[in-house]
Amino acid sequence: MTGPLSPASTRNAESVWPPEVWRAPKKTVLDPRDRGGPAQPLLSVTGLVKHFKVGGSPFGEGTVVRAVDGVDFDLIKGETLGIVGESGCGKSTTARLLMQLMPPDAGRLVFDGEELGGALSLTEYRRQVQMVFQDSYASLNPRLTIEDSIAFGPQVHGLPARQAIARAHDLLDRVGLEPARFAGRFPHELSGGQRQRINIARALAMNPRLVILDEAVSALDKSVEAQVLNLLMDLKQEFNLTYIFISHDLNVVRFMVDRVLVMYLGKVAELGGRDAVFNQPAHPYTAALLASMPSMDPDHRVERPPLTGDPPNPINPPPGCRFHPRCAVAEAVCSVKEPEMAATGTDRAGARHAAACLMRAAGSGHSRAPAVAVPA
């Protein structure tokens, strides 16, 4: 099998006449593993649920933490989807569920038209989906050299050791680390930024189509963070990747992503194109989250805290809308009726914009709700 994602093959493809044929579906058509075409979501998540039991004993039922409580979204091929939210909202649990590092209690994952567990085996799925973890030190085995860490995955999938090492050197070069200097080193000899580059190379060694970046740059200092973000953008083009970018840093998310998914207490609060969400947030929680971003302009300094209090306990989430105890525009109906995702429009790029707020749902009983539903 030849490498489909190398820059060389990209250049060859673009030189084919007429160029227009190639330009429009550029990101997806080049991948021979593509099955459903550009319209088919790369990953379709339906009803993802994970509850953790805590404090249980053999003699009694413990309480249940609703870490992820019914998450649905479609991931478009070639996009970067940002997942944002406060600590404890279920971002990382979602990532681990998508990666199948823990079994979900419910939910379906459909990868490029094939259901995981059905037409698609877990082994095959894991070849195509990889993850970069937050803690660059803990995610590298301290007893393995850099090249062995990167080469481990391909070797598991049957690549001979010599070729796997060659591939590791190739990838080290692509993430900006000179193989001759770094391949034989151990993780503790490198800086945080260098280690995170290695973790990225390790994920890419499997030649994935989807990379989940779980707070991948959060632990780095700002200058290194910028370098790694630029590297991620370059690699996305070069390897034709789709990203799920999980972060609590809204500035970084705005820089990186095409669409944003806002999570609150294990549920999706809002999903839409980046500009739509950042400029016209449809959910009061998103608005509050955006207002909490420190302004660079002293004249626009936020004087009042946009959000008060901690998020409610996910062991016992409030009835109705989970955000209503902290919401500035909550009404009586909000503590009774649980909001569904309601469309609020489409942005210029055609991305659907929707929010789980009764203000957006026609006929919900909220005084600000529209009379007629916005067509999805």
Partner: protein, 296 residues
């Protein structure tokens, strides 16, 4: 299939390599003067055991009732004579053989079995973990000396049974350490990352878990050798290990205990040997611990 890109650059032939973890440990250990002194003493004791027939000036079993309990320095008896007039120096030299075999052997055996059990329990978790660890907890209910005495009493006196009893005594603590370290390592991101690559449990344990678990368990096991030496001597002292007329330090302490008032120096000699060996193992273990206690 994981594919290689066609634009693969030539593999660089010269790669700067860092020294591995274990070579670093040995470098640091070799700079530890106290640990090196302990190691030198242990090497001497082991050589003494191996070369006993060439070193011993007399037959350790030859009794002469006329020359009982000679003091240290008696001509022909450099370290005196025991209660049956046997040459103490020869008996101490020969005694190192059985004492070392009995004291040291249970530890590596318990290390292997305990590590297998502990890593299995730690990695598998759930029901298997409960079964293995609760069984180990049963053994913790008894003090180790009492357990060793009870087990070798039940198995019957004898060298092999005493060693089996000591092995059983040391398996639960090794299991517990191995399980604790494995549980900790298993939740680290690099093991999760290995799982995302689709590797099986056996491969993950071999490459990612074991190399990071063996170090701490190994250090703990070396510290058990000194305990094991003392317990082994104790079993022989109580008549549950080696039987007379074999030379073994614990047994010699027992048979000489009646002479503690007439020849206290001679009677104390086997105890001194046990003490020196035991503290040397302990010092070496401490040195190993600090040599291994670095990042990575």
């Amino acid at each position: 299939m994981v594919s290689l890109s066609p634009a693969l650059p030539a593999v660089p032939t010269v790669v700067a390599r860092s020294p591995g973890y274990w070579s670093g440990v040995f470098t640091r250990l070799s700079r530890d003067k106290l640990a090196m002194a302990a190691l030198a003493i242990l090497v001497l004791i082991v050589l003494m055991a191996i070369l006993a027939p060439y070193l011993a000036p007399a037959d350790p079993a030859k009794a002469t009732m006329l020359r009982r309990l000679k003091p240290i320095g008696t001509p022909g008896y450099p370290l005196g004579g025991d209660e049956l007039g046997r040459d103490m120096l020869s008996r101490l030299i020969y005694g190192s053989r059985l004492s070392l075999i009995m004291g040291v052997t249970p530890v590596p055996v318990a290390f292997v079995i305990g590590t297998i059990l502990g890593v299995t329990a730690g990695y598998a978790g759930g029901f298997l973990n409960t079964v293995i660890m609760r069984t180990a907890d049963v053994f913790f209910a008894f003090p180790s000396v009492l357990l060793a005495v009870a087990l070798s009493g039940a198995l019957g006196a004898g060298l092999l049974n005493a060693m089996v009893a000591l092995t059983i005594v040391f398996i639960p603590p090794v299991t517990r350490i191995a399980e604790a370290v494995t549980t900790q390592v298993r939740s680290l991101d690099y093991v999760e990352a290995a799982r995302t690559s689709g590797a099986g449990a056996a491969k993950i344990i071999r490459i990612h878990v074991l190399p990071n678990v063996l170090g701490p368990v190994f250090v703990y096991a070396t510290s058990l050798i000194s305990v094991s030496m003392i317990l082994a001597a104790g079993l022989s002292f109580l008549g549950l290990g080696v039987r007379p007329p074999e030379a073994e330090w614990g047994l010699m302490l027992n048979t000489l205990r009646t002479a503690i008032y007439t020849q206290p120096m001679v009677a104390a000699l086997p105890g001194i040997m046990i003490f020196i060996t035991s503290i040397s193992f302990n010092t070496l273990s401490d040195g190993l611990r600090s040599a291994m206690d670095v990042k990575a």
